[in-house]
Amino acid sequence: MKIVYFAWVRERVGKTEEIVTPPDDVRTVAELAGWLKGRGEEYAHAFAEPDIVRAAIDRRHVKPDAPIAGAGEIAFFPPMTGG
């Protein structure tokens, strides 16, 4: 499963992307974020406030309860500040 990170989520995790294999009981975006959070200090920092980190599956915004099954690319990032 390919994960990509942007902005301060990327800086805290310390990488722009990675391939991960979460256990089968990780079914939603929120569960994936929770599982990533347990992978080390840098992840704990990035996902310290899980309500703030946003997610996209295959380049579309999704809610925390979105299922991750079949996802090609899952992105985590802070609230957008474009425009």
Binding site: V4, H61, P78, T81, G83
Partner: protein, 159 residues
């Protein structure tokens, strides 16, 4: 119909207005050309925040940025009778006084053009995957710009 670009290069407001006008005229099969009566442009420019800022670094999610802007543009075209629409969003290092974003809307009458441009900007602010990092005059990084609550509120008024 919408012309959407995500690029590091600057843009030329007059050239984009002319392109929207030419495109609208070309598309006006039934009534003949020249059915655009109103063109609104919005240009977002980098401020220096009272001298504190020397540059903004704009990070984006390649691919999703274009697709998300296209989704917002399609929604604008569903809501208003537009005859032309262009959105250009820059990324990379942008200095005070330099352009960040351009929206051009064209319609027969002014209200549709104004509302669509305002709608597009509100949605771009809160939905387009761009993030701004500040570079400060003292040489340090000012960190990532936090979203303004007003921007979220501005978006909800279109619900």
């Amino acid at each position: 119909m919408a012309d959407i670009r995500v690029q590091s290069a600057d843009f030329d407001v007059a050239a984009e207005v002319a392109a929207v006008q030419a495109g609208g005229d070309a598309g006006a099969r039934e009534t003949g050309p020249h059915d655009i009566g109103a063109i609104v442009t919005f240009t977002g420019v980098c401020r220096n925040d009272g001298g504190r800022l020397v540059a903004l670094e704009l990070e984006h999610y390649p691919g999703m940025a274009e697709e998300e802007i296209a989704r917002v543009a399609a929604e604008a075209e569903r809501r208003w009778p537009l005859k032309g629409l262009c959105v250009i969003h820059r990324y990379g290092l942008i200095r005070p006084g330099e352009n960040i974003v351009l929206v051009v809307t064209a319609s027969a009458h002014r209200q549709a053009a104004f509302e669509a441009a305002s709608f597009l900007m509100d949605y771009l602010k809160t939905r387009a995957p761009f993030w701004k990092k500040e570079h400060l005059a003292d040489g340090t990084s000012g960190g990532w710009v936090a979203p303004r609550q007003e921007d979220d509120e501005a978006t909800t008024r279109w619900d």
